[in-house]
């Protein structure tokens, strides 16, 4: 049986967000695309867009990002039909309609490192969807080892990390006020609270098990709801006192 790489159903399926600056409420994840970074070891004019390639499970130590993360350069490239993903550009990831509707390609065999400070100073211009990240992972494994791992295996492995990132985004959306003055500090604090909660409550362990994942998600959302209610009551109390 011939092994082939997979393709998205359509161009839209690979993006969670594109064509806008992705806000800071979305936790940093594999497949995020940043403009304003040139990787070390490349001429300054070689590229100014990169894609994060570090696996979601290895991005953070606790609630904090690792000091260095893997990234690959992204350059303008050919717009290819989804069907051609299976046999063409196998060491690259096609990024259709990335900037002003123009296609780009991420070169997976030219990976280097970026720092969290570089990411903070740059614009996140796209974020891959779960399907998009799995396609990236499949091509990354192929580019580095010439092994083909099916998407269902990659999806099963990454499911707990995806669930945590989705829940953290919900916590950020609910707990970080739009007018927050020090957003990085507030988001770091929420990430810390979230990490402490999912570890101590057993939610993290249950998210790792397919049979318990739905219930774990529900518990994390219940906890978020009670924290929002507590925060609202506290704000009301402060207003009354003032």
């Amino acid at each position: 049986v011939a092994a082939t790489l997979d393709a998205p159903d359509d161009d839209d399926a690979i993006y969670l967000a594109v064509g806008e600056v992705v806000d800071d409420l979305r936790p940093i994840n594999q497949g995020d695309v940043y403009r304003g970074i040139t990787l070390p070891g490349f001429p300054a004019d070689d590229h100014n867009i990169v894609i994060l390639t570090t696996h979601p499970c290895s991005l953070r130590a606790g609630a904090k990002l690792q000091r260095r993360l893997m990234a690959a350069p992204v350059r303008p490239g050919q717009q290819i039909a989804p069907a051609k993903w299976t046999t063409s550009f196998s060491r690259q990831v096609p990024l259709p309609n990335l900037v002003d509707g123009k296609a780009h390609m991420a070169a997976l065999t030219e990976a280097s490192v970026v720092t969290p400070a570089q990411l903070e100073a740059a614009d996140r211009i796209a974020a891959l969807s779960e399907d998009g990240i799995q396609l990236l992972q499949q091509r990354l494994v192929w580019a580095l080892t010439h092994a083909v791992i099916n998407l269902d295996t990659l999806a099963e492995y990454s499911a707990p990390a995806f669930a945590e990132i989705e829940l953290l985004e919900e916590w950020n959306m609910a707990l970080c006020a739009p007018d927050e003055t020090d957003r990085p500090a507030r988001l770091a604090a929420i990430a810390g609270e979230f990490e402490t909660y999912i570890r101590s409550s057993g939610v993290q362990a249950d998210l790792a098990q397919g049979r318990k994942r739905g219930d774990a998600r529900r518990r994390a959302r219940d906890e978020l709801r009670s924290r929002v209610e507590a925060s609202t009551e506290s704000d009301d109390g402060k207003r009354r006192t003032a």
Binding site: D12, A13, Y15, L16, A17, V18, C57, S129, E130, D131, A147, V148, I149, N150, D152, T153, L154, E156, Y157, A159, P160, F162, A163, E166, M173, A208, G210, R211, K212, R213, G214, D215, A216, R217, R218, R221, D222, R225
Partner: protein, 224 residues
Amino acid sequence: MSTDAITSRPSNPAASGSASVASSPAHSVVNRPTPSSPTDDPTTLRHMHRDLARPLRDLDRQQREERLRETAGMLGRRDPRELLEDAASTWGLSWSTIGRMLGVSPSAMRKWRRGGGAISSENREQITMLSAFLATMQTCKEPIADMGSWIEMRLRDDTTLTPADLYASGTEGRLLLIDLAAEVMSLVEVLDTFDDDWRTRYARDSAFRVIDDGPDGERAIVQR
């Protein structure tokens, strides 16, 4: 109706012979079908069962579909964003799975969650249908204990197909899932009806698998 079927059945030799059977109080015609009754012949019964099975299944299916649409109609009065929130908070579904089941792109789903992006009337119908489906599944014979987990899990360990996949395929897939929950179809019947080539088309990765105890004690992808 063959009289052989009647005369050969009694184990009591004294009861053999149709005249003595009919006259014996122990073999009253009130309690036993007459030899001429069509319901007394197993072969005829099997034919009747076969002939009735399809129309009965179709009728049952129509009623389920009707109830599903009726429930969706009722839920259609509610705010679609509230229904989406219910799918996540009450049922424990992930947003990415909700989007996949509704057939909307991940970016559209993300905009909805953040309160932006208009929800078209077609998508609103899809959202109410999903809510009706989730509610209906809980009224079945064996309610799903953890909907958010079940909907994302493989239906069998030899296929990649999940309930979310069947749901996303359209009305037929949804009704198959309801039939499965109602225990009127077996799992293999559901899968065969969905796609008779499911064993090949939706086969799992034959080369790699995920294990819980990798080299560093964490989950890992290893060769089968």
